[in-house]
Symmetry: C2
Subunit: 179 residues, 2 copies
DNA sequence: TTTATACTATATCAAGCCGATATATTTAAC
DNA sequence: GTTAAATATATCGGCTTGATATAGTATAAA
């Protein structure tokens, strides 16, 4: 999904600024399966605005300087619906930590242990935060996707907890460092 | 991880051509947690070559035309090890399918069902392929990462199998199509 | 046998994305 | 009273992505 579609998705749920859209992907409901940064959001909003798919309202007062709140237009809603009607492309998972663990034998054992435990801590914390959501009034889609995310994070934590000692001891550590 | 490090990683396991490197990420042992295409691989190999981190051997005969086989140099091995010594950045998961399911209420129910079942089929097949690997002579790191991948794919399949009927029936379908 | 399809193999390109950075105000903390 | 964090918009170079071009080889079908 391109940045334009992601922005439209956030806006069909309610008006938002570029900053607020970013927060949705950083900490909000999309954080565990999509990401888009300012460098994509602001150009996307400009293009969507040009195409008449969203409308902007500038609010100069209200504390912060020149906040621009965007709202999706009926045309924007139609375009968003059409985007969803297409077959989605396959998932993309990029885990540098998995790549690093793949090469465990090339690593200093202490570094491997640190990376391993930081990774576990990160996902345990993420699960904790996700479990806090109050399901009251939340859409079926959002609840389902949250459950899916929880299921696989929990699988990762379980696997890594169960195999921790075995893996950290089995990895020879710095195998051919003196080559 | 940038394309250069990913290429170095493949090459420390054994000499390979650009085409063979690509296959490692398309179908090989890295397929489920990293991806890199020709558009990144060939420029990366050129740069690594310039920097003396890999050496190229052209084999004009042997059937195919001008196949270039790359081998990592001692300097390349050192650089690769240093890359792994850094703290890896957090995982990036981009699931357009999850995004689509988040907005289930905006979708045609038949389309949602099709996407849902295609997704399940895709991951069931991926699990089947991953389970085929013969663990004989495979490194600890590779076995661990494969187990991790299997664990979370299985979690996804289990969750989606268990919640299929509930979700597909609960999603109202085309909720506000006539707005 | 010829034709078509798939595979091996390298390479480039436009469009778009990513991470970092710049700028500036406001709120919160110490 | 000062520092740090949060709010807020925006840009930029470098890199990645997906598509495309090119071309020989192997395999299978007609």
């Amino acid at each position: 999904m391109d940045a334009k579609t992601l922005c439209l998705g956030v806006l069909v749920m309610g008006d938002a600024s570029g900053y607020e859209i970013r927060k949705m992907f950083e900490e909000g409901p999309f954080a565990h399966f999509q990401d888009v940064g300012y460098g994509s959001i602001y150009p996307a909003l400009a293009k969507l605005s040009d195409e008449g798919l969203i409308a902007v309202t500038e609010t100069p007062d209200e504390g912060h300087p020149d906040k621009k709140v965007y709202a999706v237009t009926p045309a924007g809603r139609a375009v968003f619906r059409k985007s969803l009607a297409r077959a989605p492309m396959t998932d993309k998972i990029r885990s540098d930590t998995a790549f690093l663990m793949f090469f465990a034998e090339y690593l200093d054992p202490d570094h491997l242990r640190t990376v391993y435990d930081d990774y576990l801590t990160f996902y345990r914390e993420r699960i904790r935060v996700m479990q806090e959501l109050d399901p009251e009034g939340v859409s079926e889609g959002r609840l389902f996707v949250r459950g899916l995310g929880l299921a696989f994070y929990q699988a990762v934590v379980t696997y890594m907890t169960d195999n921790r000692e075995r893996f950290l001891n089995a990895a020879p550590g710095n195998a051919d460092a003196a080559e």
